[in-house]
Symmetry: C2
Subunit: 399 residues, 2 copies
Amino acid sequence: MKYSFAKSIEQLESSAVRDILKLTQGSDVISFAGGLPAEEFFPVEAVKQAYIKLLDSGKNALQYGLTDGYLPLREQICQRLASKNIHVGPENMILTTGSQQALDLLGRVYLEQGDVILVENPTYLAALQSFRSYGVRVVAVESDNDGMNLEDLQAKIKAHRPKLIYVVPTFSNPAGRVWSTERRLGLLKACKMNDILLLEDDPYGEIKFDDQAEYPPIISLDDHPADSPVVYLSTFSKTVAPAMRTGWAVADKRVIQAIGKAKQAADLHSSSIDQQALYYLLGDFNLDEHIVKIRHNYKARMQLMNDLLAEKNLPEVKWTKPAGGMFFWVEVSPQVHTEQLLKMAIKEGVAFVPGTPFFAETPLTNTLRLNYTHTDEETMREGMNRFAKAMNQYLTAHV
Amino acid sequence: MKYSFAKSIEQLESSAVRDILKLTQGSDVISFAGGLPAEEFFPVEAVKQAYIKLLDSGKNALQYGLTDGYLPLREQICQRLASKNIHVGPENMILTTGSQQALDLLGRVYLEQGDVILVENPTYLAALQSFRSYGVRVVAVESDNDGMNLEDLQAKIKAHRPKLIYVVPTFSNPAGRVWSTERRLGLLKACKMNDILLLEDDPYGEIKFDDQAEYPPIISLDDHPADSPVVYLSTFSKTVAPAMRTGWAVADKRVIQAIGKAKQAADLHSSSIDQQALYYLLGDFNLDEHIVKIRHNYKARMQLMNDLLAEKNLPEVKWTKPAGGMFFWVEVSPQVHTEQLLKMAIKEGVAFVPGTPFFAETPLTNTLRLNYTHTDEETMREGMNRFAKAMNQYLTAHV
């Protein structure tokens, strides 16, 4: 049998992160690669009670559900969003298999071969992977610690007439950046004036290290959310548990309906047992208190990795201490190619993600991403020792 | 904001079945429309025990999982498949959000704009919907109660050089047909000789009304399953519960890897909590015994609907008694347009699916699909009274 796959899939590279995850699973490699939450903080007992309550509630719990997702859960999420000044109803929301599916379905309903989309530099690699599978050209906008450079944004809008702009404005992946309110407003205005869809991906917004700080989602800055250019995505993967794969998209009804049509064809609906269990969980469990606990623990881990990075005193290594999220974005000596460094690191028993796949265009090959949420103190110390050893070996061998 | 959706989605019609489901939800319309299993047979207590066991097993249960799905569950499914003479390993399998997702992802990795695919006449409407979203042309092969007409198949292969053929050979949806072994072998041979991918969708194979009857899946008839043209799909939706959304694809490793790449971009992975719970369920619960129980109950419901259809003695109404699955496929008087009839039926308080959307090309507008698995005796009697009343009203008004 001679298989002839579609061209788009032949081009689609397997995600570097997930390939490394596969490689390190079951081995004693310490992984700073994945974007994994810490298992020790999963509210496993509360989740168990939620499934018990659901399955005691009757047999209907196991029946097919609606494509848009379990209505009472959508209503609960709308209530939570109201506290972030996002005022929408359940008809503005669809539940998906993680927010990755919302991103992918939006690409499916909105993008066509040859379209241009703009992204931050660097940006989330699985977004690049999904968008590219729709045959679009991805153009990177110059970005700094405050977000996209608005002048470069204007120039690239003019040059490329993009159809969609994709951003992670709060604790971006991989760079851990937080956009200033001015840049958020500037991007929103540019999208409105030019009829460009603005995909705001917010998986990490809750994981902020200053409980008092406010980072307004771009959608909350829009006066007319019912006719908004913004499609807002978030998820329970980082706050409750990834295994339940429950994310959501918020947008104008017409956009939600289009995503719903695509989702019917894609999988009819996501796990409704998980959606219903989340509904019970949110009723009985203090998620906000839980999120505060996660924040404090992750902040301590971030601080430790920051201190260890400083302590190792590696030549020409630079990073910015993140205000939230799950990652350090690290620039190393320009002579280091981090894809090569990774091979040495894995031999030493530690993994990270090289920066290259996060760049839509010319990559900075001396960058890498380190996750700090998934390793406890002892493991992190040992992992950073191995990382420093690999780096010194690399420099000795290559310089 | 002026939204400009992709053309493929503008063309994509919302599924007739799911729109009707939405319409009738929460109303007192008796629905013979959906393909819903009967809630009263869901093994809710066993499912609950499986989640408890899983969530007592530790916090790792809630972490991200592999794109291909939970390995021990894949191994268990492989063991079950071996009893159907399908001998494959977990590397030949990917778990998906229902088998619908497997079907859709296969389309994504294998089909390109302008390709031709062949289907039965009539065929599963959500398959048509998914394939069409990839811009392919769907051609129907003449079909009778034994499956596709092999001469017409040869002619259409020659005329259209199709890339993929999609069939539901055991208790087809909507027609409830069972392909003869001769036709299965003929189709397999034609696909091998012409390098055509053969998508065998088997959601209903376990729901057979003769416990002793054997309907060999086409993939089990292939001597070389490692290099086979057959991609085989099935699901737990009809045997355990749809809400857990766990289906699978079995194929050559290269096909599974391609689907895996697309699935990474589509949603990273399906609910791994559900997959792990199914693993515990299969260990502790006698699913085969449970399936026998479902079969007997569904057979009784099928028999009752058969008797009621006969009893009503509606003019020119024809149907074949199904040997399994979930549907009656009914042909009514040629002067009846069943989409019009549906409107009257809903006023009378009963719903079905008109036949039109199941046809890839010219529809028979006097056909309809009735589900018999989801209604108990009393409801079915009342529903069929309403159906007969609507039909007689229609005939009085239109003839």
